[in-house]
Symmetry: C2
Subunit: 342 residues, 2 copies
Amino acid sequence: MSRPIETRRPLTLRDVSEASGVSEMTVSRVLRNRGDVSDATREKVLQAAKALGYVPNKIAGALASQRVNLVAVIIPSLSNLVFPKVLSSVSDELEDTGLQPVVGVTNYSPEKEEQVLYEMLSWRPSGVIIAGVEHTPASRAMLQNAGIPVVEIMDVDGEGIDSVVGISHRRAGLHMAEAIIAAGYRKIGFLGTKMPEDHRARKRLEGFKEGLAKAGIELADTEFYAGGSALAKGREMTETMLKRSPDLDFLYYSNDMIGAGGLLWCLDNGIDVPNKMGLAGFNGLELLDGLSVRLATMNACRAEIGRKAAQIISGRSQSGMIGGEVIELEPTLDPGDTIRKR
Amino acid sequence: MSRPIETRRPLTLRDVSEASGVSEMTVSRVLRNRGDVSDATREKVLQAAKALGYVPNKIAGALASQRVNLVAVIIPSLSNLVFPKVLSSVSDELEDTGLQPVVGVTNYSPEKEEQVLYEMLSWRPSGVIIAGVEHTPASRAMLQNAGIPVVEIMDVDGEGIDSVVGISHRRAGLHMAEAIIAAGYRKIGFLGTKMPEDHRARKRLEGFKEGLAKAGIELADTEFYAGGSALAKGREMTETMLKRSPDLDFLYYSNDMIGAGGLLWCLDNGIDVPNKMGLAGFNGLELLDGLSVRLATMNACRAEIGRKAAQIISGRSQSGMIGGEVIELEPTLDPGDTIRKR
DNA sequence: GCCAAGTATGTTAGCGTTAACGGTTGTAGG
DNA sequence: CCTACAACCGTTAACGCTAACATACTTGGC
């Protein structure tokens, strides 16, 4: 089962044209369903192409036509679960537009983002969907000069380059703080990621603190982590924090996964949730639906974000604008079973 | 913040060459670090390129050089967690080879796989990494004719096209059956996915049944699901099955996520795990490390698979073979806390 | 001072496809 | 029978870049 030894010359339109006795141009027309071709020749050509196993060369096609049916989608991570979700909604929405998403991953590094962007732009995609509004100056310049639609997603807190679709993480944090205070919790701890480049987590924390401040409350304790399994980290951090600050009555987690870890720890240790201790996360991970106690969370509109972004790129946006659209979506709070009802 | 209105003509090598007073060829050499260029001109050219914000056109470059630094990676799903893991190990391994992975997703559909493959091959990648050994005849033909290295990953049970890297899911199932029987369990249920196209899950079940048969045992009950949150489904299915067959003493799940759901249900319902009831999943999801009880599972060597596949494509495989390599890895059983020790 | 052997740059000819236009039929209408 | 206009198919010239070769300048050895 090894590759064919006879390294045949790769097939071109010419091969198909010779095999079917028509010009290359006609073959090209048939294969792209463009222009007038009689049914007889069409059939002949398709036959020949199939028999030879011809696969068109999009590189040459793109160069000649100056059109590329690719959309660059640049995200920080694939293991976060949030991004695959966005990605699949982009993918679905692009399904029958002739456009195709191509993914690049930055690992939350601005430098990597710059490299990935450079690499992707060098393939001259028809549009770019990129997570976040924070980019290096070089990245911003590239996006501005590319002459293609750019949609920055997830986050609307900041200055966009072209179009923006997302939620305000600052306000999401603020609303969560308000809800927690309204439920009567007062000694509140925050547990989150250490990653300085996760601007959205940072903004949520800032908004959260702001919400607490409005009620004259300060964060009682904080704990940060980096790397490792989020569920396990949530467990560990929760234990650490409650050992250190046993009088806390609420824990706000920067994401659902560590929140779930914390929740499991609380349940294992017989802590009365939500009465003695309230918990909340962020993101509405459907993955966690199977827990016996539903963690309070905030849905980040991931599917909607992907959909809208794809619509803007494919030019099917409702608004009919040419660019510079800013769409702010409203995350909704799901109190689950871990915030007490008053 | 809208796109520049003046739709400038896109930049080419010529623009950079004019701006820096050298030939296009020299600019090309500088930008690719190839051939002899004096430090003075190199500096001049880089300056000009940066000032203009020039991004090379890889489409033209690829056409001219007949080389494309892309590797097609075709996987069934991104929401499965298994595949992002493989993907990132491919990515890491390719890091400094000059090659770049490009992902295609098939949603477990052979037809979609065929389309994705056609699309990707039309960009003439340097290699293909594709999940599974089951493909449509057309897909097989395309892969055979492409004249590039092909690595089928995850699964070695079947006839490969070129190289294959994976584990035997059949034997993985068989070994699990042996371990379960050795631990003294006798009334065994299976809970899995309904997807007929998930050949690896199917093979595990077949191997599992075979292992049981050797000990003269038959599966006591089975339950299948499709769609929805795996954790929740695991919970539901477990309840359903134990209501129906209360005398079971072991549940084998086709993946860790539904296994975890089942485990949580058992814990919530005060079932004595692992003494009265044993549980096992498949995959070694690090995601689940934070559970209070560790689910028995089998590590599928995902990182290793990605690494080896990437090595074969980049021609850095240990073996020095040209093609047709078959690498079978050995999954290891992790008994966790849900199989009783004898 | 002349040639050999670099070193640094330019020139030419594609790569495989498609846009744009040109030609050749056939067919209907006057 | 001639014109008008489709319908069909071919020819030519790009698209932006790079491989391969060609050319101009050095430098050093005798």
